[in-house]
């Protein structure tokens, strides 16, 4: 797959017949190449070339091979004399990746032209690597851009524009992958939180063959106080490491600093002021046991066939949480209730937060080593009203 741009300028008269076109001329060197990656799916290339125009109508031949250009997207703009140099028309020969511009020039002159087109095969990826401090309250975040060039075209000293930040100049050959650091933020505050969701995790660990892992999340906030907030964070893979002590190889040597990997997740698109939640691993040092201790129908209304058609429900839930760790930790309990309900009694009102019609959370801080008698117990009582058995659970 060898790319070839043939670029010919001719002041010759092309026979209107299907005779072979004569492509004379010098290959004008590219004066500049700009690759714009601001569109999520399309890559726009703008290249500038210097061509020598005769007075009158010039034919400029542009052709390509081994690259995938959207031919309907090709445009040419005169830069040196934008008001005088005019593109009269564009002709497309049959079965060729080529076109011919007729360009009128009022004088013999050199013209810088910019040719724009959509080129397939250039993709980019955003990846993040972070190294957390041992206390997991802050981390160093590095944001990398990885460019893949499968366009068929070697891009030399191309200005790459991402749509945010400043553009940079890179040379990237066909089939090359280039990775570069695009942003580094030191001491970025991070919130570590475990998330126990009653819809996805078993309620009674005793009945499980394996210790239940509770999803461990790092939460970043894309705002100024958290050293971010300059732009939307783009989706990509995030790998998180944590600093560790490295044991010395020999006795007497100093303990060094190393890292261990703590997990990875796909970052979601995160606009400014919103949170990025990264589910990177599981904690097995916190144990959550949820039980429904009361589950009763009240106000049962039956039809004449004595079927229950409408009732209320009185439900009590008890959640016992043990933290075996030597450190306190944040835990979010996520509960789901379908239909119309009211909270009757709630052991942790300040930690309670309704997220939507059918979901609420408790945002708890579990004290260190809160096990046995010191465990955290959350209870709540719900009245579910006007139940018919067809309650919506989501929207």
């Amino acid at each position: 797959m060898k790319r070839l741009f043939c670029f010919a300028v001719a002041a010759l008269l092309i026979s209107t017949a299907a005779h072979a076109r004569v492509k004379l001329v010098a290959l004008p060197e590219r004066a500049r190449v700009v690759v714009s990656l601001s569109h999520p799916d399309q890559t726009l290339v703008e290249e500038e070339r210097l061509i020598t125009l005769q007075k009158g109508v010039n034919k400029v031949d542009f052709s390509w091979r081994g690259v995938s250009i959207d031919s309907s997207s090709i445009q040419v703009r005169a830069l040196s004399h934008p008001n005088d140099v005019k593109v009269l028309n564009t002709s497309y020969p049959p079965n060729e990746n080529a076109l011919v511009w007729e360009i009128a020039s009022p004088a013999a002159q050199e013209e810088r032209v910019r040719i724009s087109y959509l080129l397939s095969g250039i993709t980019r990826e955003v990846t993040y690597r972070a190294v957390a401090e041992p206390n997991e309250q802050s981390m160093t975040l590095r944001n990398y851009l990885r460019l893949h060039n499968n366009s068929g075209e070697d891009l030399t000293e191309a200005e790459v524009a991402l749509g945010y930040g400043s553009s940079f100049k890179k040379t990237i050959a066909h089939e090359e992958v280039l990775e570069m650091l695009s942003e580094r933020i030191e001491a970025l505050p991070v919130k570590k939180v475990l998330m126990w969701d009653s819809a996805t995790l078993p309620w009674d660990p005793e009945y499980q063959k394996n210790t239940i892992g509770i999803p461990l999340n790092y939460v970043l906030t894309n705002d100024k106080p958290h050293k971010l907030g300059t732009h939307t964070l783009l989706p990509g893979k995030v790998r998180i490491f944590i600093k560790t002590k490295d044991q010395p190889a020999k006795e007497g040597e100093q303990v060094g600093e190393g890292v261990a990997f703590t997990g990875e997740d796909w970052a979601q698109l995160t606009p400014v002021d919103r949170e990025m939640k990264l589910y990177i691993g599981q904690s097995r040092d916190v144990k959550v046991t949820q039980r429904r201790t009361k589950d009763e129908r009240t106000n049962i209304r039956r039809n004449t066939a004595n079927q229950d058609v409408l009732w209320d429900k009185d439900e009590i839930y008890k959640i016992e949480i043990e933290n075996f760790k030597k450190e306190a930790i944040s835990l979010t309990l996520i509960e789901h209730v379908p239909g119309y309900w009211k909270m009757v009694e709630n052991s942790h009102a300040p930690q309670f937060k309704k997220k939507d019609a059918f979901t609420f959370e408790y945002n708890l801080t579990l004290p260190a080593e809160s096990t046995g008698d010191k465990k955290t117990t959350v209870t709540f009582e719900l009245n579910r009203l006007n139940v018919q058995g067809n309650e919506p659970q989501g929207y």
């Binding site: 066909h174 992958v177 280039l178 475990l194 063959k209 560790t244 261990a260 691993g281 040092d285 129908r297």
Partner: protein
């Protein structure tokens, strides 16, 4: 089974003029074979002259092996000589399972003066990358290279030796490291991570791609075969090293424990050599006289008619444990049956991960020496109500159950019987019970050696229009 590191310094543009010969380091970290180094002509974009100057061997290797995923973090340090300006460092690997998206470089010395400009995965080759590094320092720099590999794993296993009365156990743990990575690791520091980390993509698949973003079906490499010949050759070295260590210090090597985020990490003291295809088992702890309870569970819905035996204890300091969480693994339980410590095999089971101070249950299978026999002694349908058409619309069911329980063993045990009910139910009994949740109760009965007991309960369930909840 080779990976190479090569430094190329000097700017591309300068090579053409030939004014500045550039410096190349080429490294291999294959344990089996140190390639003879040659002056290679490296064509990047132009023709470059490259001088091979030195062979920077790996100074140290550290393996951080995870047990929840097929993942190992490898860290190696090397000494390289940098020039001022642009240095190119080529790193290549073949027949290994290195994830190309994971390879990272960092300078440990002169870190402020050495900066990676970018990383290139060159066209038409796989398992190779090139760092372009700007250095403001000329001379020796200690660098660290980190990457993920697949094929190394570790697991924990335990032995429980119960005393004759099954009141105490000796509990010991070991870890076993398996190397199927395609690479021999020599003199490596081994760290083992206990924990469930999340991987959104399989490391082995990423490794097979050979470069980032390639379809994984492209067989950039074949899975490394357990290279028989080199492993054999290293055989002797492996044992030699071990015996050398043993002669140096007779005591088993220490394992250093460290909490890391929600995980736990063991660092094995000293250095290990683990050739490809080998595995190595190391003792990790031994606790004597850990108090246990012989606990038996019966729950029809879970185990049918069987009674299941458990050893229960707590992973706490009070119980001679509690220094570390216990990784999930396999346990073999024995009981000493004679004074000269002959074993009886009690059972083998998988054990869950146990945090410090958590209560442990080793499930050891069915034990016929403890029996539970439930019998429904009476069944009544009462309080029948009718609608205007004379059809039955409500009724109440009353069941009377008798439970005969027997401990045929010569040691005391605790028996836990669970019963599940549904609907509008009411339980009446003289026996002691706990409500587990809205629809489950448990009867916990301590039984002396050879004790038999019987208890009854009555459960009334209201149906149809009799139902009030």
């Amino acid at each position: 089974m080779k990976s190479f590191l090569r430094t190329v310094s000097g700017k591309v543009g300068e090579w053409e003029s030939g004014e500045r010969p550039s410096l190349t380091h080429r490294l291999t970290h294959s344990l089996t074979y140190f390639a003879a180094l040659a002056t290679a002509l490296l064509a990047t974009t132009t023709h470059a002259r490259i001088n091979v100057v030195t062979l920077p061997d790996r100074d140290s290797v550290q393996l951080t092996i995870y047990n929840s995923a097929d993942l190992t973090l490898v860290k190696e340090t090397r000494h390289l000589t940098f020039r001022k300006g642009l240095n190119k460092l080529e790193f290549s690997w073949a027949n290994t399972l290195i994830d190309p998206t994971s390879v990272e470089f960092r300078a440990l010395s002169h870190a402020d003066e050495v900066e990676v400009a970018d990383v290139s995965f060159p066209p038409r080759v796989t398992n190779t990358l090139e760092w372009r590094i700007n250095s403001e320092f000329a001379g020796d720099v200690v660098v660290e290279i980190r990457y993920f590999t697949s094929g190394l794993s570790w697991s924990a296993d335990y032995v429980a030796e119960a005393s004759k009365d099954e009141k105490l156990i000796d509990f010991s743990g070991a870890v076993r490291v398996n190397n199927n990575s395609g690479e021999d690791y020599e003199n490596a520091q081994v760290r083992l991570v206990v924990g469930v980390i999340r991987l959104v993509e399989d490391i082995a698949n990423l490794a097979r791609a050979g470069k980032p973003g390639m379809p994984t079906t492209v067989a950039a490499m074949s899975a490394p075969a357990p290279a028989a010949a080199p492993a054999r050759r290293l055989n002797e070295a492996f044992f030699a090293m071990d015996s050398a260590e043993k002669s140096a210090s007779a005591k088993p090597r220490e394992i250093i424990r460290e909490g890391v985020s929600e995980y736990f990490m063991y660092t094995v003291e000293g250095r290990d050599t683990i050739p490809n295809g080998w595995s190595k088992r190391m003792p990790s702890f031994r606790a004597e006289k850990v108090p246990i309870t012989s606990y038996y569970k019966f729950e029809k819905e879970r185990f049918g008619d069987q009674v299941i035996r458990y050893y229960q204890f707590t992973n706490s300091v009070a119980n001679k444990l509690g220094n570390e969480p216990l990784p999930d693994g396999f346990v073999k339980a024995f009981r000493f049956v004679t004074d000269d410590l002959l074993y009886a095999f009690v059972g083998s089971t998988g054990v869950k991960y146990i945090p410090v101070n958590e209560f442990v249950e080793l499930e050891l299978g069915n034990d016929q020496e403890v029996s539970v026999k439930p019998t429904m002694m009476d069944w009544q349908k009462i309080d029948i109500s009718f609608n205007a058409l004379g059809d039955v619309i409500g009724w109440t069911e009353k069941q009377t159950w008798q439970f005969e329980v027997q401990n045929s063993k010569d040691i005391p045990v605790v028996l836990d019987i669970r019963r599940n009910f549904s609907g509008d139910w009411t339980l009446t009994t003289n026996a002691k019970y706990d409500k587990v949740d809205a629809n489950k109760v448990k009867f916990v009965v301590p039984l002396k050696p050879r004790e038999k007991q019987a208890f009854t309960y009555e459960v009334v369930t209201k149906h149809g229009t009799n139902k009030t909840r």
